[in-house]
Symmetry: C2
Subunit: 363 residues, 2 copies
């Protein structure tokens, strides 16, 4: 066996279905009332790998606009996609101006100082208007000031960000929509963008000229009552059984002896732990999927290892080096989120770097 194959089998495995990301993109684009659809690929494409994800989307869809968080991510993306449009949420600071210009990256200007810094440049920028989330973006006062004065900016996009987009009935959505719509009336010829993933599902009024999905590209549900049709799983994590032990009643498993056998038990040790993300030390009611059934995680999660109870008859066939699903179609992001008290976003961006990473492109 080649050493590369040996090493692949020595780690737990992360599979990313690039084809599902593309299909999710198409689903989101199709329901966006003809608006352009960008892709948010910040935080290393939500932890899944910027290079593979950005290339897959760019070369297999009509997407040509990408959003990242900071300038370092933008430079990485520029190297990967020389011709894509790249926007940076963090804004711009004086020492960064040359780097933005040289690499043809578009800053998202968040306050009047940043606008002053970019004024007169011949390169495009976006303006972020805050309509209620009070993170980045022009405040109400700044917005009035900006709209009442002339500027010498090449504005390719104006945008804002929703507070409660996953809650269809929350009145803040309509408030923000009204505020943002007023701004678009003042800046008639500039493309506008309001909606993240969940915002797209608020309907046509929220689509404007460009939508900016993130989490749903990666198969996550941002908090909608159910994950919409046409959004598919992207990530599968599989771990390998390192050892199987037989325990007598009264024997404990793991640090602090937090699980004790109350019958003759069969326990499998898997090669994934909290250093690999997903599971937290104190997770309760976690399961893995093995041999067609759910096996409970028992005892304290270790850094590099978990134990699962495979005493039940359906696991009789399970043997050392078998693999178990930690995340995928059976152990869903929602299930992991519920057990760990983390959100799907955190689970994806928290996936560790020790997995053997495998990217599939079936569309």
């Amino acid at each position: 066996m080649k050493i590369s194959d040996v090493l692949q089998k020595s780690s737990a495995q992360l599979d990313v279905e690039l084809g599902s990301i593309i299909n999710n993109y198409i689903t989101l684009s199709d329901i966006s009332s003809g608006a352009d659809c960008a892709a948010v690929v910040k935080a290393n494409a939500y932890g899944l790998g910027l290079e593979k994800v950005a290339r897959a989307i760019y070369y297999n869809s009509k997407c040509n606009t990408f959003f990242v968080a900071n300038l370092v991510e933008a430079i990485n993306l520029r190297t990967i996609l020389p011709d894509a449009i790249v926007y940076v949420f963090d804004g711009i600071f004086p020492e960064q101006v040359d780097t933005y210009l040289t690499h043809n990256i578009r800053p998202i200007l968040n306050d009047l100082n940043q606008i002053k810094l970019w004024n007169g440049r011949r390169q495009s920028c976006a303006i972020h208007f805050d309509t209620g989330i009070n993170r980045l973006g022009l405040s109400k006062v700044d917005t009035e000031n900006f709209l009442n004065n002339t500027n010498d900016l090449k504005i390719s996009l104006i945008l804002s960000h929703l507070v409660n987009s996953e809650k269809v009935d929350n009145k803040s959505n309509n408030d923000q929509l009204n505020k943002f719509t007023k701004i678009t009336h003042e800046l008639k010829n500039v493309p506008a963008s309001l909606s993240n993933s969940a915002g797209i599902y608020l309907g046509k009024d929220y689509h404007f000229d460009l939508v900016r999905p993130g989490i749903m590209l990666y198969g996550g549900n941002p908090g909608l009552p159910t994950r919409p049709n046409g959004i598919h799983d992207v990530v599968t994590l599989n771990a390998r059984i390192l050892q199987i032990r037989n325990l007598s009643p009264g024997m404990s498993v793991g640090y602090k002896a937090m699980w004790t056998a109350n019958r003759n038990s069969r326990v499998a040790l898997l090669n994934v732990g909290y250093a690999d993300g997903i599971l937290k030390t104190n997770d309760r009611n976690s399961h893995v999927f093995i041999a067609g059934a759910f096996a409970p995680v028992i005892g304290k999660v270790s850094m590099d290892m978990i134990a699962v109870d495979i005493t039940e008859k359906e696991f009789d066939c399970v043997t050392v080096t078998d693999i178990a699903e930690i995340l995928g179609t059976h152990i869903t992001l929602e299930m992991v989120a519920k057990v760990s008290t983390l959100e799907p976003y955190e689970i994806l961006t928290g996936i560790g770097h020790r997995y053997n990473r495998n990217y599939n492109l079936r569309t």
Copy 2:
């Protein structure tokens, strides 16, 4: 300004004091009754960077023995340190034998099948005896079987792992000590190892020939009532202020509007979020340290951003691009652990990959 300097300032910063790791190593080695002291560097040296950490320890202390979790980590370490002794906790499987042999890596054999697989080889190995944690290692039955039969192994180390080493009075420590001591009597000429970081503090009886600290090398407290003298902080995380906003009473911050101003407030947005580890979406009572005082994190933590309340007078001097300590001497691992319900181990191994990483070697 050079582009490298621009990019450094565009990310949050992770500083690793390699000198503190070395000093922590010396502290742990000095109290280990003349036992050799190894270094556990699994999970990318607890998230801090295998290459920098392993080199620093190897070339600045007497340490020449390292423990990793799996074969991939071992191969990486072998490339970094061609002459160090490298043990692998995960054990060995048939397809891995050649790779272990070629790269002079020592498997830790965990059951009779693994022992059979290595029998007759001229390369050293370790044997892991389970004395109560019921993770990896020879069971009681396997142990008796092993001790009652001859073998043709070159055993350079026997080891076991404590369940409750951080609790001085827990009776399981003494039970495990007795079981392991009996095994060492049967295998008199083989070096033995029982203690992780906390085990070292259980005293001389627990030191045997080799101790294997992990978390305390990196400045963490594994659960001792107080962190012992001579163990120093290793990690500092600093984030940068992207924008400062003035809020009126009734205005909310962040997703789901989970914090609302009850006075005229000044809020700073920092360039670190849950994608960078440390802070979880729903953390409450978190703080950052800025301008000599503690500022509360407010609202929901975002993927790439947090908001902190800097309304109080002591923050009047704070301005955009100032930096704030997220983890370090003021915001300690213990404090973060308490707020996040994560353990120091999880916090370290969960540190994200977006930081500008800076390694200092002051001893």
